[in-house]
């Protein structure tokens, strides 16, 4: 090709705490191209994007923008160089208007004062250009839907003169009509010669929108191919297919599947619907699905954070109405949350204080015997710390997670829900957690496991329940292939019917 690529990344390496996440990755994006970056969770897509956005810096390799070598140490530098990123957490101020957000830090001025008329007019132009003239530049961002907030971010990126816009799972939180809007918007960007790096799991979108596809697996580049030169099935095969090889401990001998401990019938709320779920004693049920498919929402509903408003829940055969976490705990349910720092730990407290938090907080589960067992639980988890007085903020991610697990095990639950228990932790801790999960099942707990990394679900679960757009898309037995899971998760088995499969008449 004769044009200078917008972006050329070569030989990018990145490791966290000695664990390689990216190894010698190359990525080239041409002007006006919509380029898909695909791979399973944990393949390194997010890390690559964050390097590009200046959030992380690469350990090795070069980045060229429009032929000029760059290196970023701060996100603002990346923005100034013409790379804009639309992450899932928004970078907007909800109390300001669309126009104010679009121009934040670069407000147009006339005679030394902010020229609001110009600001509004320019924003209106940009939005019209993007094909969304109905979004008012004076609307307060906090009152907008997620889709319009995304559009505001994209407009902000454009007004900064970005040549390359990275979108991380942009449709994860969008409804159907909003997805169509995003499609149009991407087309407009292409027409304007702006390149888009599109990170998504949804094969349909990738094949609808993108010119080329780069596949990552285990932190390595698999292939960059033109969309026309590859079929969806081939793509899935390239993304998955890692060997599961002895990575997961075998089922502990003597594990027996017993009575149903957790039963959800027709569970639903604003985020999920029609959830029928059973987890038996000794059973590990995996919940798989794409980001935004409702995995975490099910966990939060079972635990009473955003309770089910429809349907029924029973624990050990007793119907329970779980409206608050306290009630879930009293019913014998534990939840290891997705974000351990924000939701799981009091970071400035000691290991001991955190490990006994659930017992301290709930008179119904508190007992001297259980307190006395905490030390043993921590040891059995192979916790590495400078003693139980150490503040948990100074522990590694894996050890922090062990403290979270310990605080729930201390309460001796009958049902344990684990939401992304291995996210961001090192390999050793992962393996430890895998065997802990196995032994919990062996002890007769019902385990509901949520994991983005498909191999974890496949390697650990006895049954896999796959979600798609807030509903159960299908159920697969232990040992299902990644392709089968992805088929349900991406809604590909529904192809030919409508995307939802349940559109109202």
């Amino acid at each position: 090709m004769t044009t200078v690529p917008v972006l050329a990344m070569r030989g990018i390496d990145k490791a966290f705490l000695g664990v390689p996440v990216l190894t010698s990755v190359d990525l080239t994006v041409e002007p006006g191209e919509v380029h898909a970056l695909v791979g399973e969770n944990g393949a390194g897509k997010s890390t690559l994007m964050k390097i590009l956005a200046g959030v992380h810096s690469a350990d090795a390799g070069t980045i060229e923008l429009g032929g000029r070598a760059v290196s970023f140490t701060h996100p603002a530098q990346a923005q100034r160089a013409g790379v804009a990123s639309v992450f899932q957490e928004f970078n907007l101020l909800p109390e300001l208007s669309v126009a104010e957000n679009v121009h934040l830090g670069r407000e147009p001025r006339r005679l030394g004062r902010i020229d609001r008329r110009a600001m509004t007019a320019r924003t209106a132009d940009t939005l019209a250009d993007l094909g969304v003239p109905d979004l008012s530049p004076t609307a307060k961002v906090g009152t907008l839907s997620v889709a319009y907030q995304q559009i505001t971010e994209i407009a902000k990126a454009l007004s900064q003169g970005a040549d390359l816009i990275c979108m991380d799972e942009p449709t994860a939180a969008l409804a159907d009509a909003e997805v169509a809007l995003l499609y149009r918007l991407v087309e407009r960007l292409r027409e304007r010669g702006v390149a888009v790096l599109y990170v998504s799991h949804r094969l349909r979108e990738i094949f609808d929108l993108c010119d080329r596809i780069t596949v990552l697996k285990d932190g390595r580049l698999v292939e960059t191919a033109a969309t026309t030169a590859i079929t969806p099935d081939e793509l899935v095969t390239k993304m998955v297919g890692r060997r599961i090889e002895a990575q997961f401990p075998p089922r502990s001998s003597g594990t027996e599947t017993g009575e149903v401990r957790l039963r959800v019938r027709g569970g639903g709320n604003d985020y999920v619907d029609g959830i029928d779920l059973e987890v038996r004693a000794g059973e590990i049920v995996g919940l798989a699905g794409l980001q935004g498919s409702g995995r975490t929402e099910i966990a939060e509903a079972v635990f009473g954070i955003t309770p089910f408003t429809r349907g029924s829940v029973a624990v050990d055969g007793r119907p329970v109405r779980i409206t608050r976490p306290r009630k879930a705990i009293a019913a014998g349910i534990a939840l290891v949350t997705e974000d351990r720092k924000a939701q799981g730990l009091a970071l400035h407290q000691s290991v001991r204080a955190n490990a006994r938090m659930v017992l301290d907080a709930n008179a119904r589960v508190h007992s001297r015997e259980r307190l006395a067992r905490i030390r043993g639980i921590l040891s059995s988890l192979d916790l590495v710390s400078r003693g139980d007085d150490q503040e948990v903020q100074f522990l590694s991610g894996g050890n922090q997670q062990k403290v979270v697990v310990a605080k729930w095990l201390a309460a001796e639950p009958g049902v344990i829900v684990l939401d992304e228990p291995t996210r961001g932790i090192d390999v050793g801790a992962k393996h430890k957690l895998y065997s802990v999960i196995r032994s919990l099942a062996a002890e007769g707990l019902a385990v509901l496991l949520i994991a983005s990394e498909l191999i974890e679900v496949i390697g650990l679960a006895d049954r896999i329940v796959v979600l798609h757009d807030g509903r159960i898309a299908g159920e697969l037995p232990s040992g299902a292939s990644e392709q089968e899971v992805m088929a349900y998760a991406t809604g590909r088995h529904l192809e030919g019917t409508s995307r939802e499969g349940t559109e109202p008449e």
Partner: protein
């Protein structure tokens, strides 16, 4: 449920606070009328407006720092110090006026800058930082000035007492400063960026805003409005007085700001609301005064009003977040029930 369409948007906070002001005026007027008086008699209007000016100056500056998610507990002390600096420099001579006013604004601005620097660079919590500088000034005042000091020339005392029709000059100046502050927040980048710094300092920084400079500016301006309040004190007393700080002006100012709808956590609000907040407090004071209700009852009412107002704002805030759709909601209940399970 409130509709989503923009036309049906709930009343803005500033509109609400002016509505409340009108309500307080109407109720107060009625109460005074029942008592056989007239709240809108010239003397009472003068009283009301006079009351607004002092708190007004302080509250305008306070609005800026609170918008930046900061706080200034030192303004009462700065005002007292400023009254002394001003009065002693004037020394009874009208010719010294420009110099004295300049010196007051310089000193008060520098104290504001010190506050801002301690918060921004030493990372001291604003509550502690400004409490600390306030105490430092208090000690200085208590040690250096055992009583009133300085002499304000008659010309400048006019600032405290003259009025045009029923409007005191001090209130006019205060409103002019308020107008300038409103303009500053709307029309200048620095002013506009205060909303960003208070709203989310990381987003502000990511957008290339120099957040420490914005915070420093807010504190300098807050110091300077406290200096203006000090000049007004000097004009009223005809001399500088260290005792002024005992009136807890800083708490009055904070109360007026939050009553005016500015979020104590920053990023939302404005000076227009603050002026209304100041006015509501002044109207209440005047009503109580006219009706000869025990002056201490006003403190009780004031405390209750502030708590009630913030509770009301908190409720509105909660409603707004609760209405945000996060996910295309699964089909409605009817459909869910219609499906065989």
């Amino acid at each position: 449920m409130i509709a989503f369409s923009p036309s049906a948007r709930p009343l803005g906070t500033t509109a609400l606070i002016y509505l409340a002001l009108a309500g307080v005026l109407a109720l107060g007027g009625a109460a005074v009328a029942l008592d056989g008086g007239n709240l809108f008699a010239t003397a009472n209007l003068v009283d009301m407006l006079t009351r607004t000016s002092l708190t007004g100056f302080l509250a305008i500056g306070m609005t800026l720092v609170i918008l930046c998610r900061s706080l200034d507990l030192s303004v009462g002390y700065v005002a007292a110090l400023s009254s002394l600096v001003g009065a002693t420099m004037m020394d009874g001579q009208a010719a010294n006026l420009p110099l004295a006013v300049g010196a007051v604004l310089l000193v008060s601005g520098l104290i504001g800058a010190a506050n801002g620097a301690i918060i921004a660079f030493l990372k001291v919590n604003p509550f502690i930082a400004t409490l600390g500088t306030g105490l430092i000034i208090k000690g200085y005042l208590d040690t250096e000035y055992k009583g009133p000091a300085g002499d304000v020339p008659a010309v400048f005392q006019q600032f405290g007492y003259t009025r045009i029709a029923f409007v005191p000059v001090s209130a006019i100046v205060m409103l002019a400063v308020a107008a300038a502050a409103i303009w500053f927040l709307r029309a200048t980048r620095t002013g506009h960026h205060m909303y960003a710094v208070g709203g989310d300092v990381d987003v502000a920084r990511m957008s290339g805003i120099r957040t420490t400079r914005v915070l420093l500016t807010a504190h300098v301006l807050c110091g300077m409005t406290a200096g203006m309040a000090g000049l007004l004190l000097a004009a009223r007393f005809g001399t500088g007085s260290a005792e002024a700080y005992t009136n807890l002006y800083e708490l009055d100012a904070i109360a007026a700001v939050v009553l005016g709808g500015t979020l104590l956590l920053g990023g939302k609000g404005g000076v227009a609301g603050t002026v209304a907040g100041v006015a509501i407090l002044a109207v209440l004071d005047t009503v109580f005064n006219v009706m000869q209700i025990d002056p201490f009852a006003k403190d009780v009412l004031r405390g209750a009003v502030i708590i009630a107002a913030v509770a009301l704002y908190a409720r509105r805030q909660l409603d707004r977040t609760a209405r945000r759709p996060r996910f295309a909601a699964a089909q409605g209940i009817e459909e869910a029930q219609g499906r065989p399970s």
